[in-house]
């Protein structure tokens, strides 16, 4: 009975750890530790720029390690690492780039934010780096338990980040809500993992794939696997804010510090989708006839509810929260296609969305001013007269989110919808296109608001005495810090640049695929 356990313990097999193959994760963790150690040693008051520079350097180094990994994969082909717990393929590299870019943009915009709000110190950067390491672990996971571990590392740091603005009660409320619902969804996901283990006898995704394939071929009973699949979709659906698991999103996005909200929408959503794509498009691929209808329903609900509810919002952060729900719907359209093109489209969508959303929240954090309060749509009225460049940049980013051609937003929507129609899901393609038209309304409304003059300002004569008085009052406290300006500039450059010169990135998305001939597939 117990003798089996004892004999196992004496023949311990050590895993072979190929440190170089998951170097980006190690760099992120090592960088976070280094910053924390430095902060402990130097103590006292150090310029904020130190921490920002170190954090950007760490994330940049992790991204460069990702490039090196990509070359390695080109030469030796994709494979697994650490006793098959991690999968090193183009998909992992792609999400390394997504999440590391998100950290760089986040750290740059957090620099100005923490100085303005007097929340300085290394902590916000350390937490973002640790959270990103969890996100990478999710993208690299070849084992459901590793995926869960990554999910927890990602989430726990984010709960703290959501409550980072200690003096705002809304921030604490956001952290509490995110924590309770996040812990709940993690538990649901873990239950799903347990049921999949019960059904297949393994948690490794490649073996789950093979076992399920054999089981279905032999006409086996798949009830247990279906229950596990459903629970995992619900658990990850919470993380990516798919309707009907989205209810936490508006409150948490509104209450969290603006840079953190951008990071959540970019990195946490990307990591959640990386997990969902790994699980559904790879591990549970044999069950695709069962999960595709579920994802179809989720995609339609997410697209429609996200765009319709965004229209009635009066707060820009809440509006962007619903818009991020809407964007999750498009990524689900790519997943539903269940093809290489669909997954590539979803990957492309997440990378480009990371840039547009982080740039957007950089603008939001500037306009919100000290206290992070001025986030109503009315607060944006006449932004063009006060800060012309800011208004133009925000308009470009919003237009990209609406899917205007010549931006990456258009190409991203185009990729997923084309994948859907190629897979003969015309219904989903049509819903996605109609929703794009609905969503254009609330983006355009905000753009129009920015370009109309506020009350008391003569639009034709903004230099008149009364107008100048109003504009000066409204401009008070609205400062664009250099690092924040860099975030906005990089986001706009990426959104327009990759929109005009589209080939390389689209091509890379096609090649950085999850589908490859290799062990277990």
């Amino acid at each position: 009975m117990s003798s089996g356990l004892v004999s196992q313990a004496t023949t311990l097999v050590l895993p072979h750890v190929e440190y170089s193959r998951f170097l980006p994760i190690l760099i992120l963790i090592g960088g976070a530790m280094g910053i924390l150690l430095l902060a402990s040693l130097v103590g006292g008051r150090v310029p904020e720029a130190w921490w920002t520079t170190l954090s950007v350097a760490t994330a940049g180094a992790a991204g460069i390690a990702g490039c090196w990994l990509w070359n390695d994969i080109q030469r030796h082909g994709p494979g697994t690492a650490v006793s098959d717990a991690l999968r090193i393929d183009g998909f992992s590299v792609w999400f390394t780039f997504v999440i590391c870019s998100a950290v760089v943009l986040f750290s740059l915009m957090a620099d100005g934010y923490v100085q303005r709000e007097r929340l300085g110190g290394p902590e916000i950067h350390v937490l973002a780096l640790l959270s990103a390491s969890g996100g990478l672990l999710m993208a690299y996971a070849n084992d459901l338990l590793v995926l869960f571990l990554g999910l927890e590392i990602l989430s726990i740091a984010l709960y703290v980040l959501a409550g980072f603005h200690r003096r705002r009660t809304e921030s604490g409320e956001a952290a509490m809500k995110y924590f309770v619902l996040g812990a709940f969804s993690s538990a649901i996901f873990l239950y799903g993992v347990a049921l999949i283990y019960g059904a297949t006898g393994t948690t490794r995704l490649d073996l789950v794939n093979r076992t399920l394939g054999d089981m279905l071929e032999a006409g086996g009973d798949r009830k247990l696997a279906l229950a596990g699949m459903g629970l995992m979709i619900v658990g990850l659906g919470f993380k990516v804010a798919a309707v009907p698991f989205h209810t936490w999103t508006p409150d948490v996005y509104q209450g969290s510090p603006s840079p953190v909200t951008g990071f959540m929408a970019a990195a946490a959503k990307a990591a959640g989708f990386a997990g969902l794509l790994r699980v559904l498009a790879f591990g549970l691929q044999p069950l695709h006839n069962d999960w595709r209808p579920a994802i179809w329903a989720l995609a339609v609900l997410t697209l429609v509810a996200g765009s319709v509810l965004a229209i009635v919002q009066t707060d820009v952060k809440r509006m962007l929260a619903y818009s991020s729900i809407n964007h999750a719907g498009y990524v689900l359209v790519g997943l539903h296609a269940d093809s290489a093109a669909g997954v590539a489209g979803a990957q492309y969508y997440l990378l480009t969305y990371a840039f547009t959303v982080l740039g957007s929240f950089a603008v939001v954090s500037v306009v919100a001013r000290q206290g992070d309060e001025a986030t109503r749509i009315e607060d944006y009225r006449g932004l063009y007269l006060r800060k012309p460049l800011l208004a133009v940049a925000f308009s470009i980013l919003l237009a990209a989110q609406a899917g205007v051609p010549l931006t990456t937003g258009f190409l991203a929507k185009f990729s997923v919808i084309r994948a859907a129609t190629t897979a003969d899901d015309y219904s989903l393609g049509i819903v996605a296109m109609l929703v794009t038209a609905v969503a254009a309304f609330f983006y355009l409304r905000l753009i129009v608001t920015m370009f109309t003059a506020p009350e008391g300002v003569d639009e034709d004569h903004p230099e008149s005495e009364g107008s100048v008085a109003v504009l000066t009052r409204e401009r008070t406290g609205m400062r664009v810090m250099p690092a924040t300006a860099a975030t906005i500039a990089v986001s706009v450059a990426m959104t327009v640049g990759a929109g005009l010169w589209a080939g390389p990135l689209l091509d890379f998305a096609e090649r950085a695929t999850i589908f490859f001939p290799g062990p277990g597939r």
Partner: protein, 121 residues
């Protein structure tokens, strides 16, 4: 009975023995002890502290900070004991990994120390 279920028979027997022992001693105590209740004896036992009415009483935040630090070392011990038992089998690889683990936890302690968490204010 399948071999799978038979493995769990021991658990059932053990649970039965535990319930029988606890229930038996309590019942025996009830039968033979004298019973002279007073108001003081009916007060809820709370580690020797007078139970103050209301659950919304505030407690010192510094207890919370120390509890967090305690959890850190508690978790450390949970991992160090099995490692120490298998020290030879795990070899140099295990030693290095454990040193990294302890280093990371020590880093947390250094940070807490520099943040003046260890000072009883």
């Amino acid at each position: 009975m399948s071999a799978f279920l038979r493995d769990y028979l021991l658990v059932v027997l053990f649970a039965g023995a535990a319930i029988a022992f606890a229930g038996g001693s309590l019942t025996l105590g009830r039968l033979i002890r004298p019973s002279r209740p007073t108001a003081q004896k009916h007060v809820v036992y709370e580690s020797g502290v007078d139970p103050v009415p209301g659950a919304w009483a505030q407690s010192q935040i510094r207890y919370y900070l120390f509890a967090l630090l305690f959890v850190m070392f508690d978790v450390e011990a949970v991992f160090i004991f099995p490692w120490a038992v298998n020290l030879e089998a795990l070899g140099v690889f295990g030693l290095v990994e454990m040193l990294i683990f302890i280093f990371i936890l020590a880093l947390g302690l250094v940070y807490a120390w520099r943040k003046q968490v260890l000072r009883w204010v």
